[in-house]
Amino acid sequence: MKVLVAVKRVVDYNVKVRAKADGSDVDLNNVKMAINPFCEIAVEEAVRLKEAGVATEVIAVSVGEKSCQEQIRTAMALGADRGIQVETDAGVEPLVVAKLLKGVVDKEQPQLVILGKQSIDGDNNQTGQMLGALANMAQGTFASEVVVDGDKVNVTREVDGGLQTVSLNLPAIVTTDLRLNEPRYASLPNIMKAKKKQLDVYSPADLGVEVTSHLTQVKVEPPAERKAGVKVADVDELIDKLKNEAKVIS
């Protein structure tokens, strides 16, 4: 079966992002970019399905400016067979990304679509679920285990207080949580090979989707600072402060 994996180009997770002084946007000048960590887990899961003989082909797709081809190449270096870029401006909203991915799903007819549960820039946690609704596919979000079984897939999900397992008819959507797997590193020979793999570019019009905007970012600002308190000398002083000053324990 064919597996489609969505990947997003985001600021590297080690970078501490700041608001610009004028509050117009975050400052992304000369900042290191990378594949979104949850998307990396999605790629790894798809590649493992192929290695296990469950998947026959893994296609990596990204929506964004030409620069996101770098992250598609990264996905191919990790084991995806080919790539698709849907060329748009930066900052496309999740609903539109979901519509564009639906266009790719219609073209490619994958049995499984794997996405990260959220991207570490917008922190929206929406795209996979929206794609599920648009494509009328079942979804297993926040997955910690994925087991394909005939024409169904069992997904174990991270929920409040534990784990929940659901059975989904294929084709289905999976969004990844942290513990699903530990992504591999791309080897140099695989990075070289990835440069030669097929990468198709579509426009939103090719997929019959109009790029719309529903939200305007009015401003961005740093969060309210919490001021540092005091250092205590020992456990006794700590207990004393909590009892008599903060009055949070008795």
Binding site: E93, D121, T127, L131, V159, Q217, P223, V230, V235
Partner: protein, 309 residues
């Protein structure tokens, strides 16, 4: 203006997150109804009807909604929500699962995890793991919103007298089913509802050492959490994770043990009333947000703290 609040519940009881969400809905200045979707969830509906400030409780009580499968519940909410200006739910794992589906069915954006209502169409929400607060304005006539519950005090659970109305609509998409669940049985309070939380980080060194937190948690009636570093290292399960990609907590007392204080963790706990940090590295960033910092080896400090509490 009218707002539909989606109840968070387990068919037996109404969860506190619903009350914080009602408070956020009140900030939107609209009439508030609550939707309870579940199976044999009559007691939840009664609890929802008692919440102060609620006009009507709509109850969809059917086997199709028992486990609140996203495929089924989203169809119901999109149908019922058609008559409202705002559809609002707490940003719990459960509601995060189905709300974006509702938004897509209605062809509108979702505004995730709002922390402030600026006006009828403008909201604040944290982005980049809480490093930045964005103010966003929606042009959609109908708004689908999830609420970061720690940003709002709970609405009073008593004092209301809403009417309860049963809904006949049954939506079973027939493409997914519930197989089972493994819920950790614990006498401890739930992380997001606990008045005291004690969390361990990479400094705990391994999962076994998390037992050092048990005795203190027992004495304080605390829930036990962990940093993402501790989860990534495999010390403890992910449902204990406090942080931007885990649970957001705001207890009266938060004790961070062996946690350096990465922004991703701070985003999950910095609204706590009192923060205590225990770390042997005096330059750890966690001390910049801690009300009380103790520079000490946790393997000495924890047993001492437990014995002296």
């Amino acid at each position: 203006m009218s707002t539909l609040v989606i109840a968070e519940h387990d068919n037996g009881s109404l969860k506190g997150a619903t009350l914080n969400t009602v408070a956020a809905a009140q900030a939107m200045g609209a009439d508030i109804d609550i939707l309870v979707a579940g199976a044999n969830c009559g007691s939840v509906a009664e609890a929802a009807a008692a919440v102060a400030g609620v006009g009507k409780v709509l109850v969809a009580d059917n086997a199709a909604y028992e486990h609140q499968l996203a495929e089924n519940v989203s169809l119901l909410i999109a149908e019922v929500g058609a008559g409202y200006d705002n559809i609002v739910a707490p940003a719990t794992p459960n509601c995060k699962n189905f709300m974006p589906r509702v938004a897509a069915l209605l062809d509108v954006a979702q505004i995730s995890e709002i922390t402030s209502v600026e006006s009828a169409d403008t909201f604040q929400r944290p982005i980049y793991a809480g490093n930045v607060i964005a103010t966003v304005q929606s042009s959609d006539a109908k708004k689908v919103i999830t609420v970061r519950t720690t940003a709002y005090d709970a609405a009073p659970a008593e004092g209301g007298s809403a009417t309860i109305e049963a809904l006949d609509a049954v939506h079973d998409a027939g493409i997914s089913s519930f197989v089972g669940e493994e819920v950790a049985v614990s006498d401890r309070p739930e992380l997001t509802a606990a008045a005291v939380v004690i969390s361990g980080g990479r400094g705990m060194q391994n999962g076994e050492n998390f037992k050092l937190l048990d005795g203190i948690a027992d004495k304080l009636g605390a829930a036990i959490g962990a940093s993402r570093a501790a989860v990534d290292a495999g010390f403890v399960p992910n449902d204990m994770q406090v942080g931007q990609t885990g649970k957001i907590v705001a207890p009266d007392l938060y004790i961070a043990v062996g946690i350096s204080g990465a922004i991703q963790h701070l985003a999950g706990m910095k609204d706590s009333k009192v923060i205590v940090a225990i770390n042997k590295d005096e330059d750890a960033p966690i001390f910049q947000v801690a009300d009380y910092g103790l520079v000490a080896d946790l393997f000495d400090a924890l047993p001492e703290l437990e014995s002296k509490l």
